[in-house]
Amino acid sequence: MAKKLMKGNEALAEAAIRAGVKGYFGYPITPQSELLEYLSRELPQRGGAFLQAESEVAAINMVYGAAGAGERVMTSTSSPGFSLMQEGISYIACAELPCLLVNVMRGGPGLGTIQPSQGDYFQAVKGGGHGDYKLPVLAPNSVQEMAEFVYDGFDLADKYRNPVLILSDGALGQMMEAVEFPDYDIEAHKVDHSEWATRGRRKGHDHNVLTSLYIQPDKMEAINQHLQEKYQLIEAREVRFETIMTEDADFLLVAFGLSSRVAHKSVEMAREKGYKIGLLRPVTLFPFPSEILFQLAGQVRGMLVIEMNTGQMVEDVRLAVRGKVPVQFYGRQGGMIPQPDAILHEIEKYYTQRLAVEVD
């Protein structure tokens, strides 16, 4: 396939079509609107339904319906819109419906700014909605991955009957890079959901029912335990991460998404200066690569987590390393993006102050 120059939002939209998306329901919001606009143009011509919903609340519930019908469907939004979807996501997770969600994050809280941010990490991985549920969360860091993770996302969703979230940000959504769409055989990846989907009663069968209501606590508890088992399976099987120059590292950066690219640059700069720095980039935020982090905690003498927020993933890193090494945090907020030299500065601070650093 030839390379194309595309915005992240558009690459994601194009990949969704190539992954066989049958329904898209969304609402405009900067900086994800190109995704919606692209699909409004392309999807109806290429075999799917596009609908601009009256709100994000409506959009996520349309997804609930269409996913319940057993079709590949998705929505996308940005931070405030994602907050409005939380009730719906909790329903979808409980009813175990496969679908793809996209949050192209911007700076918050509140109306905030439309510039890129990673302030919705907690919302994404701890469950912004009520109750105990989890979404597999994929965090791309390039336009290429904005496209690739769509296929993976849909497949994971179908495999586990669970909504999957692509957690991106305004910069990844807006920027153009070269992208190559992998071959993907829609038919080969099709999963037959007719056993549970509400598509009209199958001949000779009882009706299918989708619900998240179990008024009897013991039944609801069983549902919770079933969900937890599924999430444990996902944790056992689907952890994805990238290691960069970790083999001999004595200090580790941890960063996801856009910040991982900046961190990568800092690692290169630091290596040039002779520091043995590595980078661990979680690709799945749930399931979180705790295992590798715990391993690396046995090797490095400290970790620095870089995020575009006030410190969210750093908690998961600390949970993973269980006190073995100090874990520090450097972040920028509100649309500001960490700069490689500022990170380098933090790294140098660490090396000069190493002895003074207490276990955190």
Binding site: L51, V63, G65, T198, G200, R201, H207, L213
Partner: protein, 277 residues
């Protein structure tokens, strides 16, 4: 009259529960002129005695059977007393979040346009939290049947005021009666949406008398038939119903209230017929 009042039973009426040995001669399948529709699952419903929800459920199943669309129909019942509708209606069903049934149904219809969709919503659901979803589904002319059970109250949660509650009515959040200057006015949703071009058929019915039940069935038959025929718009069937528990009265009293007061405000009849403005 032996068959009607068999003397050998302690309770002369009990035989009617199906004791084969005491059947009236008419009790033969060929003489059956009405029986519970097969698609209404054979289990007691959770509704309070005399609640109109149950009648509406039954009619719905009669209609999908008569139109032979049991296997093409998907229903959405959001939260409200009818949230358990899926326990009774033997068509594919999705439970929906409070107020969002029209959005859920839209999602399904857009990806499976040949299915027959209906939502089944209470008035708290459709006329309060779900106002936007309702209006926009109708305004888009989503090809579905919206069944709107207007009982003027939040039944499920214990009798709070609904947007549809009549002026002066006492509910658990308006214990001195609904005061329109504070709590707002009773909302006639059907009147509001009927003028929308996306609304294809809008009617207001009731199920408190046999006559009304028959009319409602007719209305439902029409609505589903329009959808089957690919009508370019939404069919909206309001059923003004009772809620004996929420209204704190007996079923008979609740039906009287319907006739005496509520139908004065919520006038029964068609608000929009296909082809007519």
């Amino acid at each position: 009259m032996a068959q009607l009042f068999p003397e050998n039973l302690d309770d002369p009426y009990l035989y009617l529960a199906g004791d084969e040995s005491h059947k009236c001669e008419l009790i033969e399948e060929m003489n059956q002129v009405w029986r519970r529709p097969d698609s209404l699952i054979d289990t007691p419903m959770h509704y309070c005695p005399g609640c109109g929800h149950s009648v509406a459920h039954r009619l719905l199943m009669e209609v999908v059977e008569e139109l032979d669309i049991v296997e093409r129909t998907v229903g959405i019942a959001p939260v409200g007393c009818a949230v358990f509708a899926y326990n009774y209606l033997n068509v594919d069903m999705q439970e929906a979040a409070h107020g969002r049934a029209p959005a859920v149904a839209t999602g399904i219809k857009r990806v499976l346009p040949d299915r027959i969709l209906f939502t089944y919503q209470g008035d708290g659901d459709l006329a309060a939290i779900g106002t936007a979803e309702t209006i926009h589904a109708v305004n888009r002319g989503e090809k579905m049947v919206i069944i709107f059970i207007n009982n003027g109250i939040y039944g499920m949660t214990g009798g709070q005021m609904a947007p549809t509650t009549l002026e002066g009515a006492k509910t658990s959040t308006t214990i001195f009666g609904r005061d329109t200057s504070v709590h707002g006015h009773p909302l006639r949703i059907a009147e509001m949406i009927a003028p929308l071009p996306g609304a294809y058929y809008v009617t207001r019915q009731a199920v408190n008398t046999a006559k009304h039940v028959r009319k409602t069935k007719k209305a439902l038959l029409n609505a589903f038939q329009y959808q089957i025929d690919g009508a370019n718009g939404t069919c909206f069937v309001e059923i003004v119903s009772n809620c004996p528990s929420g209204w704190k009265m007996t079923p008979l009293e609740s039906n009287e209230l319907l006739e005496d007061e509520i139908f004065q405000f919520y006038k029964l009849g068609d608000l929009k017929l296909p082809g007519k403005e």
